[in-house]
Symmetry: C2
Amino acid sequence: MANEKMVKAITSMDEDFAKWYTDIVAKAELMDYSSVKGCMIIRPYGYAIWENIQKTLDGMFKETGHENVCMPMFIPESLLQKEKDHVEGFAPEVAWVTHGGNEKLEERLCVRPTSETLFCDHYANIIQSYRDLPKLYNQWCSVVRWEKTTRPFLRSREFLWQEGHTIHATAEEAQAETVRMLETYARFAEEYLAIPVVKGVKTEKERFAGAADTYTIEALMHDGKALQSATSHYFGDGFARAFNIQFTDKDNKLAYPFQTSWGCTTRLIGAVIMTHGDNDGLVLPPAIAPIQTVLIPIAAHKEGVVEKANEVYERLCKVCRAKIDLSEQSPGWKFAEYEMKGVPLRVELGPKDIEKNQCVIVRRDNRQKYFVSLDDLESEIARLLVEVRDSMLEAARNRRDSMTYVAHDLDEMIKIADEKPGFIKAMWCGDRECEDALKEKAGVTSRCIPLEQEHIGDTCVCCGKKADKMLYWGKAY
Amino acid sequence: MANEKMVKAITSMDEDFAKWYTDIVAKAELMDYSSVKGCMIIRPYGYAIWENIQKTLDGMFKETGHENVCMPMFIPESLLQKEKDHVEGFAPEVAWVTHGGNEKLEERLCVRPTSETLFCDHYANIIQSYRDLPKLYNQWCSVVRWEKTTRPFLRSREFLWQEGHTIHATAEEAQAETVRMLETYARFAEEYLAIPVVKGVKTEKERFAGAADTYTIEALMHDGKALQSATSHYFGDGFARAFNIQFTDKDNKLAYPFQTSWGCTTRLIGAVIMTHGDNDGLVLPPAIAPIQTVLIPIAAHKEGVVEKANEVYERLCKVCRAKIDLSEQSPGWKFAEYEMKGVPLRVELGPKDIEKNQCVIVRRDNRQKYFVSLDDLESEIARLLVEVRDSMLEAARNRRDSMTYVAHDLDEMIKIADEKPGFIKAMWCGDRECEDALKEKAGVTSRCIPLEQEHIGDTCVCCGKKADKMLYWGKAY
C-alpha cells in the first residue's frame, strides 16, 4: 500500500539525526513549509500541541498573578534605540517596514523581535506611584528575527512565544520574580513535557541583550546537543533609566523601578520531538498530546465491533482526549499512523476482546501491552497516562545523565567534546577569554552556571587558574 | 478626592458621542495609546474581555469541526498578486517589509492584511484527493491595514481577529459553510454579547475583495450608526483557479474546490461599548465580563465585616468570576470604579446586612437593587446573571427597533437620514448607480440585503423603477 510505505519512510535517527527530525515534523503533519522563506506553517496537529502548552502555562502564569496584554507588533526605530545594549543585540536581525500602502514612512518600524521597548514605553505612561507597582504582564504573540539558517520549530524567522514583562519597586522583588519564573518553566518542562532540565545562569557572553542576568533551563536532546528551552531575565533598572520610568516611592521620593522579562517559544515542540521521539515517529507526553488515546477496532466488519467500539470510545472521551479511527485503512496502517503521531495510548478492540469483556492497551513510549478488563477501563487509562509521563521523564533523565561527562583540563574537554555527544561539566575561572578558547578549541559553548553547584575541581578547565564555578558546556541548537 | 473626580470625568454621550467613547476606553483601562501611530495597546482589562470572546468562539468553532493553524505573518508580493480582485482591494493599504537586518530583500513582503493567499498556497500543497476535503481551518492572529484615520477597537492599523478559511469539494457545501458561520456569529452576538444583529448579504459594491458573496451581521450603536460586526465570504472557485488548487474527485477527474473565509475582530469590543455603555461607563454582558460580580464591604473597619466578606467572596468564586475589593478607597469610589468598568453585579455587605444574614445586590445594567438572603446567594447570583443578559438584549433590541425607519422614496430617505440616526429600510432595484446616488445624496451606505425580507414596496427608493430587494441602509463605522 502506498500510504503504508509513506508512513514508514522516516530516516533512522542514527543514520541522519537532522533528517530524522525534519521527516518527523513533516510526516506527523506538525508543519508545512511556506512560500515565505524561513517561516513555517504550523498545521492543526502541531498547533494543537502548542495550544495545550499555552493553556497550561497560561494557567500557571495567572495563578501567580500575571495578566495578559497585547502590544503593537511594530517598534519605531527611535524606540528600539533607547537602550544601547538591547539595540546592538537586536537591530542586525530585525525586519524593517518602510512603506504603508504606497507611502514611504517618516520613520521606519521594525517588526518586534521582542517587546521590552514597547512595555517600557507603556510603563512610563501608566506608572506614577508605588501603588501602581508591581505590574505583572505577559503576552502571547509571534516575533520576528531575520535568521540566516532556519529549522522547523527550532529556529525560524517568525515564531510563536510568550513574553512576560514585569516591573517592581525593588531590586529584590524583581530578582525573586526572575527566579520564580525560571522555576515555573522548569516545573512545566518536567511535569508536563517530561523533559528534565538544568536550571542555571548564563555567562555574561551568553546574556540577553540589555539584561543584568539571564537565567535558563537547558535540556539535552537525543543527539547529545543542548537546547536552551526557556529564559528569564533580570534587568536591574537599566531599562527604566533608558526610558525614564520613575515612580514616587513610599517616602515620596522619585525612584527607578526594576524589571524582568521571561519567555518560551514553539521551540518547546522541537524539544519534545528530540527528547522523546524514536525511529517510528513522535512520542508525546500525555499532558500536551492532542490525542491521548486512540481506539482502533480490529475486524471492524464483524458484527457488533463498531457498535461496541463506539460505546468504549464514549467512555474514553470522558476521561481523556480520545479519538476513534473507523476509517477503511487496515489496523496495521493505523498502528503506524498513530505511532508516527506519538499518541500515548492505543486501545485495540476486536471480536475476541469483546467476547472476553476486555481491550488491549499499548503504550507508545515503551510498547508495553496490557490486557484490560472493560470494567476497569477508565481507571486503567488514567493510571497509564500518569505512568507514561513518569516513565518518559525517567528515561529522558537516565539518558541525559548517561550523556553527561566531567572534564578537568583542556585535553580532556577536547577529547570528550570530540567523541561523546552530551553535556560536559567543568570548572571555569570566569574569564571571557577561556570561554572563547573553549568554543574555538573544543567547539563547545557555556550552557549555564547551574544553580546546583558541584565541586569537581578547583582549577579552570581551560587556563588552569583558580576557579570556583562549575559550568555545563556543550554543543547547542 | 482626586481619584473620585477622575473616575467620574467622562463626557456625556449626548454631548459628544465620540468623546464619550474614547473616554470610556481610556478610563475603564481597556487600552492605551502607543508610540506606534495608529496602533493601540490592549490593557489587561480589555484583553481579558477579548480572551472571553476568544474562548467562547473558539469552542463554537471546534464544536463545528474547525481546527486552528498558524500561518506566517508575511506575504510575498508575488503571492498577494495572484488573485486580481483581492490584490486590488488590499495592496493600497498594506505595510511593506523591504529589509531584513541590513540587507534589502529580493522580494518585498507585506504584513498580512488577511490570509487567503497564504491558505491557498498551503492548500495547493496538501490537497490532492477528495479524501483530503473539506479542510476546516481557523487562525487567531493580528493583521495590519494601513488606515489613515483610526479609533480604538473600531479601526486600527493592527487589530486582533480570527480568520476561518475552509475548502470544499462542492459549491453547495461551501455555500452552506458560509451561512453556517454567519449563523454562528449571529448566535454569538445575541447569546453572549447581548447584541441584536441583522443577518444579510452585502451588495456587490460592499463585497470583500475577491469574494463571490459576502454575508454580514450588522448591529446598531447607541448613536444610530451601524457597525459591521462579522463577515462570512463565499469565494466560489475563484481563488482555487488563481492558485491552481486541484483535486481528484470521486470519478477520478481533476476538479477545482470551493472556498470560504469568515472573520471577526476586536471591533466586537467596540460594539459592546457602543451598544450597552452609558454615561457612567461600560456595561458588560456577563458572558464576557472579566469580573462578573464585585464584592464591596461596607464599614469594613467594623468587627467581623472583612471576615464575613471573605467568606461570601469564597462562595461567589465558585459560581462566577468574582472579585473582592478590600482596598482603602471609600465604598462610593469603589461603586463608581466598578460601574465604569461595567461589572454586571455589585454585592454590598455591611454590618447591618450581616446581622440580617443578607447582602445587597445591585445590577449595573438597570441599577435594580435586591436584598438577598445569604442562604440564597449562589442561586440568586446565577439567576441574576442570566436575567442581566436577557434584559440587556431586550433593551438593545427595543432601542434598535425604535431607531429603524422605512423610506419609500428619495426625499423621504434624505429626510430620515438627515434627522433620525438609525437603520433605514428601503427597496432597491439592484443598480450600482442608485447605491452610489444614495451615498451621495443621503449619506447612507447599504448595510445588507437581510436574509429575512419584508415587503415594504415594489419600487426602488432611488430611481423608482421596479425593485424586489429590501435593504438596510445607514451611516456606518
